[in-house]
């Protein structure tokens, strides 16, 4: 009974923390008159960039996944592992890396200048799209790669024994798979890009490149137009929910799994096809690796001269990350059931900025929300990470229950003893992994904190953004490298903690 009670309390907290802010923004914002003329542009830009980002990610992912599915080469495993990395990479770090490659004084423009070609600019629509592709191409590749690996090897053997040419193999075996997987991948990425804030904040801006989320932030931060921010939040909510329902319908629901990784033996695709595969693999590896390499190279010199405010921000970030990890896991343990997972999805459907706006409205009559920026950020980060944590924990938690619930009941174990001696020890590995993901996500978050924080309560990502805004690029690069190290370090510590001495 006690166990049930804990689950109900945890569920009510999650529901309250999502529905409360939603109710608050709807209450405050249900008036079209609050919108400014530019807001319609923001809605259009949000949709356009999301469509472009999703389409580009999926289109490029197809040849890359195909190459990875049928080629063996040194570093293949590493590249596949690297495809999982953007998930825990702080957005602001990636943006700095992309600036170092595609920016005004970046590698690409230096090369273009040297050859006398026209330069490109990363700010505006194409910057936002490039950054979204950087983050979501790997996700698309992983989803499509799984589809490829799920085609039984016997079919390829049959095709080879029939002597089907490459084009026919594609038409008969691969196209049906792509028709099944690609729309889902597109929909998932579309939804993710719809709620883009940090990328739009750093690379977009101006009337021609503002997303709805960014418009919420600007309304809150600069105009202090709560009514307008609330109305925008309602619009964002409607967009995200519509797209989310659509995505759930078309996606097969295998979005975040890693799956078996093997190379399918193929008998087609020599000659020209081999060359094409090599080009795609080199391109995608360079596209993903160059920005990271540049972050490290440019960050190293600045690392020694980080000011005290950077270290203070780093301290805040670590505290927020640890706090939201603790909160997220405390939520996840009792909610690791089918119903709990459905409830947890609310955290994804409602974007952080909408949650933040709602919480601001709720808190304002009682306290100064700006004084509690870090607490609010930690809570929202925990909420946003909860679906991922549940995705990881639920299957394992169900296995523990189906294997040992009877033994536990036969012994009459108390709820505490079950938790302390059975559930937590049995879930160590997934708990470590989920904790690592949450900590890294929270560490790199640049969302709600931007809405609430003043300089005294900045987190490290916000500090990096501030340094960029002040054109102190060397300090920004150093702080970004510190942020990268802390995010990956936290992930590694948690994940490792779950594995060491995990035993039988």
């Amino acid at each position: 009974m006690a166990r049930r009670l804990v689950a109900i309390i945890a569920g009510l907290l999650v529901a309250g923390l999502t529905l409360g802010p939603v109710a608050a923004v709807i209450w405050r914002g249900a008036a079209w008159s609050a919108l400014a003329p530019g807001d319609w542009l923001a809605i259009r830009f949000t949709l356009v960039q999301a469509v472009l980002s999703a389409a580009l990610s999926v289109l490029c992912a197809v040849p890359v996944a195909r190459a990875l599915a049928r080629r063996r080469f040194v570093g293949r495993g590493l590249l596949v592992a690297l495809l999982g990395a953007p998930f825990i990479l702080p957005v602001i770090v990636a943006v700095l890396g992309l600036l170092a490659v595609f920016g005004q004084s970046g590698l690409l423009n230096s090369a273009l200048r040297a050859t006398g070609l026209p330069e490109v600019t990363i700010y505006g629509l194409h910057g936002v799209v490039i950054a979204h592709v950087f983050f979501n191409l790997p996700l698309a590749v992983r989803m499509i790669l799984q589809g490829w690996l799920a085609i039984p090897a016997e079919r390829f053997r049959l095709a080879a024994s029939l002597g089907l040419p490459g084009g026919q193999v594609f038409r008969v075996l691969e196209l049906p798979m792509l028709r099944r997987i690609a729309p889902g991948a597109f929909a998932v990425i579309f939804v993710i890009c719809l709620s883009s804030f940090a990328i739009a904040l750093t690379l977009g801006g101006g009337p021609r490149a503002t997303t709805v989320e960014l418009a919420i932030y600007q309304a809150m931060r600069f105009d202090f137009g709560l009514a307008r921010a609330s109305m925008l939040a309602v619009i964002q909510l409607a967009l995200a929910l519509t797209a989310g329902v659509f995505a759930l319908r078309v996606s097969s629901g295998t979005g975040f799994g890693v799956g078996r990784d093997r190379v399918v033996m193929r008998w087609d695709g020599g000659g020209l096809a081999r060359g094409v595969d090599v080009v795609w693999i080199v391109l995608v590896a360079a596209f993903l690796l160059m920005p990271l390499v540049m972050v490290v190279l440019r960050g190293l010199p600045g690392l020694t001269s980080l000011g005290p405010s950077v270290w203070q921000a780093a301290g805040h970030s670590v505290l927020v990350a640890l706090g939201s990890t603790l909160l997220c896991l405390l939520w996840a343990l009792p909610l690791a059931t089918r119903r709990g997972e459905l409830l947890g999805l609310a955290g994804i459907a409602v974007s952080p900025l909408v949650l933040g706006t709602g919480l601001f409205l709720i808190l304002r009559p009682f306290v100064n929300p700006l004084d509690h920026a870090l607490v609010v950020t930690g809570a929202v980060n925990a909420l946003v990470s909860l679906p991922f944590a549940l995705r990881i924990l639920r299957p394992e938690a169900e296995a523990v229950r189906s294997d040992y619930a009877r033994l536990g009941a036969a012994l009459g174990l108390s709820g505490w003893a079950w938790l302390r001696w059975v559930l937590v020890p049995r879930l160590r590995r997934p708990l470590g992994f989920a904790g690592g993901l949450t900590a890294a996500l929270s560490m790199g978050d640049l969302g709600v904190i931007a809405l609430f924080a003043d300089p005294d309560h900045a987190t490290l990502p916000l500090k990096v953004y501030g340094l960029m805004g002040a054109y102190r690029m060397e300090s920004a690069a150093g702080a970004a490298l510190l942020l990268l190290a802390l995010s990956l370090g936290l992930f590694w510590l948690f994940d490792r903690g779950g594995r060491v001495d995990a035993g039988a």
Partner: protein, 231 residues
Amino acid sequence: MLELEGIRVVEGEFTLSADLALRPGERVAVIGPSGAGKSTLLDVIAGFHAPKAGRVSWEGLDLTSVAPGRRPVSMLFQDNNLFPHLSVERNLGLALRPGGGRPSGADRARIAEALDRVGLDGMGERRPGALSGGQQSRAALARVLVQDRPVMLLDEPFAALGPALKAGMLDLVAEVAEALGALVVLVTHDPEDARRFANRVVLVAEGVAAAPVETRALFADPPEALRTYLG
């Protein structure tokens, strides 16, 4: 007496009714075709399955709505009798202190004695995975021994062991039950187990758990349902 009065279990097509009484300290085998409801009968006694109608009682005390851990019952399952990530000692400690507290000195002495009794002295530190199949069964039996409940339920716990090992384990169960003075109810699909182990036999077939019959008498003159099962 362990009494089942007017028990009725209904689950879709499946039905089982039982009206029977078992004596303290006796050894009873439950046999019958697979799917007839042998394990369900045990689950009703242990509290894992709430019957649609009827009453389970021990020495006149109504158990029907008592939680499994609070019944005067210990149980050996087909598998998962021990938590694999905990040492054997810790497993037995949890059986003694289901609240999760550390075992006292007296508890530890009792655990050591139980391990000694089943021939596992000095192996308390090991995890179940480091024991052989037979040793795991012994460790599970030691768990039942420290639980010291007047009713022991065994749901084919030794099915994975070879014939000689299984016979040895059944003898050990008889010995342990004797020491505890406990009623043992053993589910088995092997009539040989029933002959070897049980004074009386409950036949579960065609939706009915029959009242117990003396083992020798039953096999000397098997009823129609048992003849069909034995072939």
